[in-house]
């Protein structure tokens, strides 16, 4: 019961946050010297009727705060307007968000599966050759710009011809069998995943190593060792549980970092994700699309943090206790 209450409270807290974010981004975009309908006006396939509808929907003839309220009202109703190409913004987002989520979820999953054990291992074997090699590799991974690495991978793909370049599916995707589709998808996902995986793995591995070392240095571990527990028990039962909690908090940040990193990677690989969508929208000054995808990105980020918080409550009894006390 306490648990449900806490989650509800956290959800409610995100509402004012979303409102402030929407105000900030709305004013940034609207106060810019850009005509939000310029592209629509120039597009011959857009009728005057649609244009008028947009002007009315956005209240462009009224002062800016009224524009904001009307925008917010239609946003809550789920009406996001039209892109400058005349498509519905919501269909466009529905098409792109799953792709970005797919990419980031795969990457987070993989980094955790590989990064946590590597971090633990490096901490236990601190100062050995293995640890040094890992440190060097992770320094390289942290320093390489995602777009440069993506270009290098692209070079590799073009030279060897092992991986398809660009997009998420091949042109004949619809004719493939289910397994064929799966293989095709994973072949396209391979390069972007490798790029993002390498970059986020380095950070995660380092953080885990640092946490683990800090915990291993604490008094209760010394005590556990002193009372003669086996090393395996000390590490996996006592140290690991405490070292992993801060990592869960980091999960939310990791998600944020991935959203940003993914934008450049998506751009280089021509991957149809949210990051590339917002980039294209920004370049075309497609206001509706920019605003909607910015909000979606923010919501995804907040949700990521929320999930991390809930996970932390499950794993860390102390958090559960303090949050109960707050109520």
């Amino acid at each position: 019961m306490e648990f449900a209450k806490y989650i509800l409270k956290r959800c409610l807290q995100t509402i004012p946050l979303l409102i402030i974010v929407s105000i900030i981004s709305f004013f940034i975009i609207r106060l810019a010297p850009i005509d939000p309908l310029a592209e629509l006006r120039l597009n011959p396939s857009i009728s005057q009727e649609t244009l008028n509808k947009e002007i009315k929907r956005l209240n462009l003839d009224k002062p800016i705060y009224i524009q904001y309220f009307s925008w917010a009202k239609s946003f809550i109703k789920g009406d996001l307007g039209y892109t400058s190409a005349g498509e519905k913004v919501s269909t466009k987002l529905k098409e792109r968000i799953p792709n970005t989520l797919l990419l980031t979820v795969i990457v987070i999953f993989m980094t955790w599966i590989v990064g946590i054990p590597l971090g633990i291992f490096a901490a236990i074997k601190k100062g050995t050759v293995f640890d040094r090699i890992l440190t060097v590799i992770s320094s390289i991974g942290m320093a390489i710009p995602s777009f440069f690495f993506a270009i290098l991978m692209l070079m590799f793909a073009v030279k060897t011809g092992w991986f398809p370049v660009g997009g998420l599916t091949s042109y004949n995707y619809n004719e493939m069998s289910f397994i064929g589709k799966l293989i095709d998808l994973s072949r396209h996902l391979c390069l972007p995943v490798i790029v993002l995986f390498t970059i986020s793995l380095s950070g995660l591995q380092r953080q885990m190593r640092a946490n683990m070392l800090e915990v291993l240095d604490s008094d209760y571990i010394k005590f556990a060792r002193a009372k003669g527990l086996s090393e395996a028990k000390v590490i996996y039962k006592h140290a690991l549980r405490n070292a992993i909690n801060p990592m869960i908090t980091l999960l939310g940040f990791e998600f944020a970092g991935l959203l940003s990193g993914a934008a450049l990677t998506e751009y280089v690989f021509q991957y149809p994700g949210l990051g590339r969508l917002i980039l294209e929208a920004v370049m075309k000054s497609d206001i509706n699309l920019v605003m909607a995808s910015l909000m979606m990105g923010t919501i995804m980020l907040i949700l990521g943090n929320l999930i991390a918080d809930i996970l932390l409550m499950i794993t860390d009894p102390r958090v559960r206790k303090t949050s109960a006390e707050v109520q």
Partner: protein
Amino acid sequence: MEFIKKLFDDKFAKAAFLILSILYLLIIFADFIAPYSSNYSNREMSYAPPSQIYTINEKGKLSRPYTYNYIRKYDPALMQTVYKQDRCKKHYLRLLPKGEGYKFLGIIPTHRHLFGTNDGGQLYLLGTDINGRDVFSRLLFGGRISMTVGFLSLLIVFPIGLLYGGISGYFGGIIDTLMMRFAEAIMAIPSFYLLIILAAILPSGMTSVQRFALIVVILALIGWAGFARVVRGMVLSIKQEDFVQAEKVIGASTLRIILKHIIPQTTSYVIIAMTLSVPSYILAESGLSFLGLGIQQPDASWGNMLKEAQEFTNILYRPWLLAPGGLIFIAVLSFNILGDAIRDILDPKGEVRR
């Protein structure tokens, strides 16, 4: 002094410091070291490969280093332009030859460059780009932007972050709540999305100096919130200390307490955060310029030079265009290593983790 000695005891930190010093020397004296100016362009020589430098002549004997010029030809069989060396004339490399005029350190007008070739020889150490501009020279000039953007942004981020976090943490209550909600909102927007939007709404008719200044400001606008939050956390605990209470009793003004007594306590954290955050600004600037939203042509920055490497033909046939990426990597790596070393020295708790 103790600090510098400790820093240099670390082999990696020493190497990183050395590399960064060399990089900064290169960009400070870019006018002198680069054989060409940043705007020099030879339209006949677009995408010329790097000049080969020979030290052994055709008779197999050691010789002064020399190079050959390139001749551009269209090969109908390959359907592309090819560059062949013009073997009839050797161009010897020379120290301090006369080249384009510039002002040394911005004051002394001169024509001398560090190295170059004689009588009409062309020396493209890293080839040329699409406009026939020397990539090596532009790398040095581009470094001026890429390597300073981070520091300039930090000069804006830190005062804002310190003051914002200081005020928020010191007063607490409703002011704290409001200020922190605002900072959290900024942090809740995926930073790169916000970055490209802010960069995209910059008006197009700006001079390059204005654009550079605004990019610095934009990078700072993204970065201050996270920093302010940490400062606030520190201030919350510092304000409980006795010396702050004592100041209050004496009757010092609030601003004085924050500026003179609380903020100085955060110094070591600030230094650590500063060195550790320079790389992220370098990366952000180059990413932005890479997309065409940051520093614009004809100005060079490492990011916008790398923009050309996006095309498949360039990736396959003109690998020298990737050079700026390598430099970004080296600079970021060095800053990271240096930052880690500084943290280990200043933060005694970090000693455990080494």
